[in-house]
């Protein structure tokens, strides 16, 4: 049972870092940025490059987070803001083009083989008979800490208040003197940092490869949409729900249902499960579970 709980928590913190940033950013720029999952992939590779260049992993990860954050801001100013003038669908197609270019860049410089960080081999912690590697413990701690810092940022600081004001009523927020560009840039930077951190964590617990971003696409978007796009804490809850469902489906033995001794769900279809949950939810609540905005039809 403890093993199950830990698996859920590890997966949650991986998804959470990417989906919270995605969802927060959506409330400001109003289009689903598909390239966001590629920021995670780029972050993982930049951390790897930093480590190969001789930096300690912590410093390499910090540097990669800052770089990806800056990249996210630059892309947002020079590409997405311009595309948004022609509509959210055009911006979304543009974000797909950006993610193609990102994959192509990584494929041409790092190749398609999975790579690993060099980590000190340390004895795993043992909790009540369940082994947890230090990378996994770090990943959980990182997810929890980020969620805490991010909610403080959103609900206790001026930046967070401005951001929520912009998200709920843009015209009124602008009229009251909020600098929309500054807020958007800061939040874009923060979400890029989160995505890079999430990608690095994912690279630590699994491996660093070029499909890291593509594999995140369905679960991360499912989590963000489940929570109601634009609702950061909802995205965190969505990540928990998706992680729970994925882990449940992998671990439950369906043998008694089909009359065989052992029958597990095929692992290849796990991402389909998160998507199915999403579809069923959207049938009932078209704007996600945690959406509180009032909409006029």
């Amino acid at each position: 049972m403890l093993q199950f709980l830990l698996d859920v928590l590890i997966r949650t913190s991986d998804l959470l870092l990417v989906s919270v940033g995605l969802s927060t950013l959506y409330s400001l720029i109003r289009f689903p940025n598909v390239a966001h999952v590629q920021y995670a992939m780029l972050g993982a590779f930049l951390s790897l490059a930093g480590q190969r260049a001789g930096l300690p992993l912590g410093l390499a990860a910090a540097l990669s987070c800052v770089l990806v954050g800056c990249l996210a801001v630059l892309l947002n100013i020079f590409v997405f803001m311009r595309l948004l003038r022609s509509g959210s669908a055009v911006a979304m197609i543009g974000s797909l083009a950006v993610s193609l270019i990102a994959v192509a860049l990584v494929l041409s410089t790092a190749g398609s083989r999975p790579l690993q960080y060099t980590q000190d081999i340390s004895a795993p912690l043992t909790l009540d008979g369940v082994a947890v590697s230090s990378a996994q413990a770090g990943s959980i701690a990182c997810g929890a800490l980020t969620l805490l810092i991010f909610s403080v940022l959103l609900y206790r600081t001026n930046l967070g208040r401005s951001m929520r004001a912009l998200a709920s009523n843009r015209a009124l927020a602008l009229a009251s003197g909020i600098d929309a560009n500054r807020v958007t840039n800061l939040i874009t930077f923060a979400s890029g940092v989160l995505a890079a951190l999430g990608g690095t964590m994912l690279g630590l617990t699994e491996s660093v490869h070029v499909n890291l971003g593509n594999n995140l696409l369905i679960p991360v978007f499912s989590a963000a949409i489940l929570g109601g796009l634009g609702n950061p804490l909802g995205a965190a809850a969505g990540a928990l729900l998706i992680a729970l469902a994925e882990t449940l489906v992998i671990n439950v033995d369906f043998g008694s249902l089909v009359g065989r001794s052992m029958q597990f769900f095929p692992v290849a279809y796990v991402s389909a499960v998160s998507f199915l949950i999403l579809l069923v939810t959207l049938m009932v609540r078209p704007y996600g579970i945690f959406d509180r905005e009032v909409r006029r039809v």
Binding site: L83, V98, L282, P286
Partner: protein
């Protein structure tokens, strides 16, 4: 060189058919579909499986069309529930899930190896004529699709689609049911894509999960956006341009002696760069949609 030219033109015809379908759905009906390649992929697999079972060509192509039509109705019904951003993500996910199915259900689809050894069309003809005959068939299909679409677009149905794209509530006021319009537009868009997918299977005598990778959808989007969203003539031009660039990329491997990873990356990167450059500097494409003036 001339056989390469025939190959290129055949691919242009097939991909232009798919892109015309996407243009009807996204350009005229305003349904932003990011999993459009699923229709072509389903058609390709249906044709492959049917020909493995020994079905004749017309039956195999009919199966391809039927499978794509069912998928089109299902995705369009989904659109009733979702707003357009959410629907775009949902179609992307549906295409990915179908690809996962194709990759894993080896008993039906041959898994990662795909289905090979499909008997090519016109196998009795001597070498250059076989390819030319196939090109003629592909071009005939493209012409039929183009002509059919021209009729659809200038019909009441086509005008209703444009009204729905611009102002859905106005279409409702005119007495059109958006769900039914979307469903019919989706089926009309899926059929040529499935036909092209099925023909592609016969052309390369092979079908594998690679036909459904998301970058193929973006290649179609690039064709449509380069040519001009909502302009069928533009889509033909876009198909020619994009497919030429796409087909010349593998030559880099021989000329520059780069690895196959890098050649694949160049292909992906070129599609991405063309799409982005077009969106930034020519957002309405090379041959923009001509909007009819009020008379």
């Amino acid at each position: 060189m001339s056989s390469f030219l025939i190959h290129l033109l055949t691919l242009v015809c097939l991909y232009a058919m798919m892109a015309l379908g996407l243009n009807l759905q996204a350009g005229y009906a305003g349904m932003v579909n990011f999993g459009f390649i699923a229709f072509a992929g389903l058609g390709a697999y249906a044709a492959g499986i049917a020909s493995q079972l020994g079905w004749p060509l017309p039956a195999a192509l009919l199966l391809a069309l039927a499978a794509a039509a069912v998928l089109a109705v299902a995705t369009a019904r989904l659109g009733r529930q979702l707003s357009s951003d959410y629907w775009g993500i949902a179609t992307l996910a549906i295409a990915e899930i179908l690809r996962t199915v194709a990759l894993n259900e080896s008993w039906l689809t041959g898994g990662a190896q795909g289905i090979g050894g499909i008997r090519p069309l016109f196998a009795d003809l001597p070498s250059p004529w076989r390819d030319l005959a196939f090109l003629a068939l592909a071009a005939l299909c493209l012409a039929l699709v183009y002509g059919g679409y021209a009729r659809i677009i200038h019909s009441r149905f086509g005008r209703a689609l444009k009204v729905m794209r611009e102002e859905t509530s106005l279409a409702v006021c005119f007495g059109y049911d958006p769900v039914s319009l979307k469903m019919r537009a989706s089926v009309a868009a899926a059929l040529p894509a499935a036909l092209a997918g099925g023909l592609l299977t016969y052309y390369i005598s092979y079908v594998g999960p690679d036909v459904m990778v998301p970058s193929e959808t973006f290649a179609l989007w690039t064709i449509v956006m380069v040519g001009g969203l909502g302009s069928n003539l533009g889509v033909l031009l876009g198909g020619l341009l994009v497919q030429s660039v796409y087909s010349f990329a593998p030559f880099l491997k021989d000329w520059l002696g780069v690895s196959s990873d890098l050649a694949g990356a160049v292909r992906l990167g070129l599609v991405g760069l063309m799409l982005l450059a077009c969106l930034l500097w020519r957002p309405r494409g090379l041959l923009p949609e001509r909007l009819e003036a009020l008379s």
